[in-house]
Structure formats: C-alpha cells, structure tokens
Amino acid sequence: MQESIHWNYTTVLNIVFLLFAAVLTIRFLRTGGPEMLRMMSDSHHEPGDHKHQHHH
C-alpha cells in the first residue's frame, strides 16, 4: 500500500464517488433525513414500533 496520496485511478474514483455521496446527502438533508436520524438514535423505540414517513 502506498503511504501517500497520488494522482491515479483511486483518486479519480474517490472524487467521482464523493460527488455522488454529496448528492445523496443533500437529498437526505432536504427530505427530513435529520429527523429520521434522531428517531434512529432514540434507543427507547422498539423495533417495528414505527415506520418512517417520507417527506418530499
């Protein structure tokens, strides 16, 4: 394994996929994602007790 970052196919792929991840994250933020994450972190919810509602 190389010990530093070089301009190669891994770097290109990482940039492309980071952009893709950013698109998904923006959609997540604009569609009630943070609220869903708060529900997920709430350990008092029992599995199957609720269904997440989508926001559009």
Binding site: M1, A21, L37, P47
Partner: protein
Amino acid sequence: MLVAIAHALSMAFTMAWEILWALILGFWFSAVIQAVVSEEEMSRLLPDDSPKTIILACGLGAASSSCSYAAVALARSMFRKGANFTAAMAFQFASTNLVLELGILLGVLMGWQFTLAEFVGGPLMIAIMVLLFKVFLTPRIVEAARNQAEKGLQGRMEGHASMDMSIHEGSVWQRMTSAKGRTAISHFFVMDWASLWIDIGVGLLIAGALSAWVPNSFWQAFFLQDHPLLAKLWGPLIGPIVAIVSFVCSVGNVPLAAVLWNGGISFGGVVSFLFADLIVFPILDIYRKYYGAGISAFLLVAFTSRWPPLLWPWKPYSAFSISFLMNGKL
C-alpha cells in the same frame, strides 16, 4: 512520540483513501436493495429452517445493511415477528458476511481471492451453522430464547433496525427511480454511514497503528511463518481471537485484515477473522440481553465451530461443548 502517532494516522488515512470509493459504492448498493425490500416481507418469508428458507434468508441478509449491530437487532425483530430462529440467525450472518460492500472492499484492498472466499465461505459457514442448530437446538432452547426476546431488552442500533422505509409500489426499477425511491435510497445511505462510521473509523485507526508500530518480524513470529504447516493451522485459530478482542465489526474489519495478511497470517486465518465479527464482546453481550446467557454461549460456540475445514478435527469438542452448555451433560 508525536512522530509515531502522525505515522499511524497517516497510515490510517491512506487506507481510508484507498477504500473510500468502494465504501460509497457498497453503501449505495446496500441502500438501493434496502429501499426495495420490506422488513415485514422478510419476516413472513422465513417461517422454518428448510433449505429453501435458509437460502432466502441468505439472500435477504445479503440485501440488508452490513452493520453488525443493526443486523443482530433486525434478526431479533424478525424472530419476534414469527421468523424461525435458525433462519433469523442465517439472515444475521448473511447481513454482515455476504454483503456486496464487504466483497467490493475485500477485492479492492486485498484481492479478488478474498472476495471469492467471502461468497463461497459464507454459505458454507451458514450451512454448517444450520446443521449444528438442527442437531443441538431443541424446541425448549428456542422457547427460552423466544421468552427472553419477548422482553424486548435494548441492544445497539435498535432504531436502525426498526426503520422500514422500503417502497412497495411498482417494479424494482420504478421503485428505485421514483422520487420516493430516491429519497429512501438517500436515507438508507446516510443511515448506514451513521451506523458504521465509528466501526470503520476505529478499524482504520487500529489498522493504522498496527501497521505503523508493530514490526513485520513480530507478525512473522506471531503467525509462525517459519513453520508453514503450523502457520496454516494457527491462522484460523488465532484470527477469530484477534477479531473478538479487536471489538471492531463488519466492514471495519477489512483494513485490519489487510494488516494481518501483510503480516503473514494464512489465507484461512484472514477468512476466519472476517467471519468472526458476530462474536465480538459487545455483540455477545447483546445476544445475552436478547436471548439469554445460555443462547449467547450457544451462539459463541456454534459460530466458532464453523471455522474453515482446517479446524474440523476440533469440531467434536465444539459439539460436546454445545451439548454440555444446553443440557448440562455431555
């Protein structure tokens, strides 16, 4: 001291950079599949431990999130909703060991042979597990597990396991490309990252520290590289023990597996190490809460009894251990 820490962090960052695109791709695949398959449907599809159901459980597991904690929580949830215990455990194992992101990551970081080992070895491990369950898992034990499961004690990632955002209308393509589907995919994608970033981060830091600080000569001696035959036997034995004490699970184990592989552990050792992510200490404790101490011990022995064929001579010992644990006699 600071130089040593910087070296370890630099190694961890380099590993992270090496696997970043594969992780994003893998999590996206996982998110897409979770968005088109519902959890209710999964429970309904796993009523028994017939070969057909077990194969289905493997497929559904492979289509789920790779977070070990979420997989364990979801398996209990399915068991409580009526799924067969053995099928739920097969689902749980497939969730963490037959998922695409793990295969992609192994291919990128370590080579296609490990990806192949994952997809060939995983079903084999599940088949051995099912056989062990068929022999040693009596209705009384399952009833005890169900009674404990019904108490609903909390483990980790319960919220993640309870989130069913899957889309039910239309064909698979329509579900994926609709506005609802794209939103569900984005939610699953971020949720998986939120569940796993600690495991992945800790895995990378441990791997970085080990590769920067532990000299190769130590690994070579530790993995008995001077004794090829012993090394082949020792690897599958020590691999799971390293996994158990590393406390890291799921895809977080891959960077550490790469360090062990570079250090000279055998191929079987790496595979055993990767398959041991469901018996790390925190998860054993969750089994205890979910199903009781006896079942937790049963799962530990049953899961460690499936190690690659190199360890099969050891199996009779495991079988007796299970018998003793569950029935109080050999």
